[in-house]
């Protein structure tokens, strides 16, 4: 493999990995606070990307307001999802909640397909599309935006959970829901915040990746799965391990495709992530089921 190809696939793996990390963070936050896996998580990435494209193109908003508004709308949809579908199904079993969030996922997908059509779209780049040359490889400036935004988001999230009252309340809920209610924390409010935050993180991933890799109404399922891989590396508890897991997955995927050896061709790119998923689940199966019982 030549240096420029290596740098090229390293960057593309890193950028994809950042998106998996953001989705994984969403999974981790919701699961640690509520014990629910939101199978619609990947669809918020799609919502972010699609909304930013149509707000910028059709509604004619300039870039920054379009981006912020997309994230805001997706966050509201996340909150509504919790209020209408999760909260109304009180005392639902794990199986019921899985089915409900899958229903929500394909409902959101269906509505998106209905409104925006089936063609893939690409919102404009944040700062032009003239590629930078790094070690002989040409890198889109958008890739730097993605890496930078993810880094900032991870740090802000860490600060939020460590130093703000609300962040600490969420953390308390994640550690012990019953004990948290004793000190006056409302777990339902915290669950609402967790769903909204997860939606915002997904949408953030969506608006930064969509200019580079295009988006369409049905990308959610696959992205959700990969974010799930990232979150299961972190055991659905540790945010920093989730971010590392997401980035590792992105790198493994893109380097495996770049090697182009045996079955690792681009046709099987998606299958690589799924095999990694199965391996991680099986390796961590005991630990994960203990977590689930505790959570």
């Amino acid at each position: 493999m030549t240096t420029d190809l290596f740098v090229q696939s390293l960057t593309s793996g890193l950028t994809q990995g950042c998106i998996y990390a953001l989705i994984g963070l969403g999974f981790t936050i919701i699961f640690s606070v509520t014990g629910i896996i939101n199978f619609a998580q990947g669809d918020f990435v799609m919502l972010g990307g699609m909304l930013s494209f149509f707000l910028a193109k059709s509604a004619g908003l300039s870039l920054l307001p379009a981006l912020l508004l997309s994230i805001l709308i997706a966050t509201l949809i996340g909150a509504v999802l919790y209020l209408l579908a999760i909260r109304t199904a009180r005392r639902a079993s794990v199986v019921s909640l899985i089915i409900i969030t899958i229903g929500a996922a394909i409902f959101i997908r269906g509505i998106a397909g209905r409104i925006w059509g089936a063609n893939p779209v690409a919102p404009p780049f944040f700062t032009g599309d003239s590629p930078l040359s790094i070690l002989g490889a040409s890198i889109q400036p958008q890739a730097l935006w993605i890496i930078g935004t993810t880094l900032v988001a991870t740090i802000v999230l860490h600060l939020f959970f460590s130093y703000t009252m609300m962040g600490k309340a969420l953390k308390a809920c994640a550690m012990n829901r019953t004990a948290a209610t004793f000190v006056g924390i409302n777990p339902r409010m915290m669950a609402l915040i967790a769903f909204a935050m997860a939606a915002a993180l997904g949408a953030l991933g969506g608006v930064i990746i969509a200019p580079l890799s295009t988006t369409s109404y049905n990308v959610g399922a696959m992205l959700g799965l990969k974010g799930f891989v990232a979150a299961s590396v972190g055991g659905f508890r540790s945010q920093i391990v989730t971010v590392i897991g997401g980035i590792m997955l992105g790198l493994v995927e893109s380097l495996a495709v770049a090697l182009n050896w045996g079955p690792f061709t681009s046709a099987y790119k998606e299958a690589i992530a799924l095999v990694v998923l199965l391996l991680i689940l099986l390796i961590r199966s005991r630990k994960l089921s203990e977590e689930e019982r505790a959570g």
Partner: protein, 328 residues
């Protein structure tokens, strides 16, 4: 042996009435124009029953049933078109391969529970779907395979929708009776015990892993048989029938039928297949919106499933009426 016939005369009569209805349905003055649809309903019922046994009775999620359905369809199609294998033999090979596959992956995968099991089966389903698309020298790639022959016995070919209707429903009734027997047997009680508490089930000597894998293999074999019949019914298959949405369709049918109900599976399969081919086609590709809504609404308001909830309402009404009858 047939537990249902022993139970009481009413279930015996219901069974006879059901078979009678099956024979009457395709006649010209009834639903004679719809035999293609009615056959698809039979095929879907077989897949749905498998998922009901797994999800409703045992409490284990599978979001990849379409993969087994697809493996059955592809093995039948490939063996009978490219290698001139007798279609019945191809069907048997398909079922055995699917069963073996489910057995091999069953043991590791059923060490997982709940959410993780759901994601693992979802991932597995997508891997198999990718293989249908990419192994194009065997599967014909995204375009799929055509020219799949009819099944035949001796010189008698199942070459019309009506003939296939009776053949498919013969298989379907067999699958329903087998499932009914399993549910009412020692195995069925073990499965329900696993559903309510794995620790309790284990403590009375139930081998949890073995029962879960057994029922998973059975559901896979049902799906594979249905897939083979599907291939010989439509004569052409493509990967798009066996994707994630395919697995979701099976899930919708099971949910509408009531997860823990063998006979509800017919109701679920019939309702959803009818919705899909007769009503939602007019909405273009927007049928997923309806499926999403159905999944959410049924699970939020009737976690036991639509069919079972309606049956409970009816039973409650009948009970109240009979109690009133005693008082007056």
């Amino acid at each position: 042996m047939l537990a249902i016939l022993k139970r009481n005369k009413w279930s015996y009569l219901a069974m006879v009435a059901f078979l009678f209805l099956l024979i009457l349905l395709p006649s010209q003055w009834f639903l004679g124009q719809k035999t293609f649809l009615l056959t698809l309903i039979g095929i879907n019922t077989m897949v749905t029953v498998g998922l009901c046994l797994l999800m409703g009775y045992t409490g284990q999620v599978s979001l990849g049933q379409a993969a087994f359905f697809g493996i059955g369809a592809y093995f039948s199609a490939i063996l009978s078109t490219r290698y001139d294998v007798n279609p019945w033999l191809a069907m048997l090979i398909a079922a055995m391969v699917t069963g073996a596959f489910a057995y091999v992956i069953g043991y590791p995968i059923f060490r997982l529970r709940g959410n993780y099991l759901a994601m693992a089966t979802l991932g597995l389903g997508i891997i198999v779907w990718i293989m249908f698309k990419e192994l194009s020298q065997y599967t014909g790639g995204p375009d799929g395979l055509g020219g799949i022959p009819n099944l035949s016995i001796g010189g008698f070919a199942f070459d019309s929708n009506l003939k296939r209707y009776f053949m498919v429903w013969f298989f379907c009734v067999c699958v329903l009776l087998i499932s009914q027997n399993i549910v009412r047997s020692r195995t069925g009680r073990a499965l329900r015990a696993i559903h309510s508490s794995e620790a309790a089930a284990e403590s009375v000597g139930i081998n949890i892993a073995q029962f879960k894998v057994k029922i998973f293999v059975l559901s896979a074999v049902f799906a594979s048989l249905a897939g083979s019949l599907y291939a010989h019914h439509t004569h052409a298959i493509s990967p798009s029938s066996f994707d994630f949405l395919g697995s979701v369709m099976i899930l919708v049918m099971a949910v509408v039928g009531g997860l823990a109900s063998i006979w509800g599976a017919i109701f679920g399969a019939a309702t959803i297949q009818y919705l899909k081919s007769e009503i939602l086609v007019q909405l273009g590709n927007n049928d997923v919106i309806v499926y999403g809504l159905l999944l959410m609404l049924v699970m939020i308001f009737m976690p036991k499933g639509l069919f079972v909830s309606l049956r409970d309402v009816y039973n409650g009404w009948r009970q109240r009426r009979s109690q009133r009858g005693v008082v007056t």
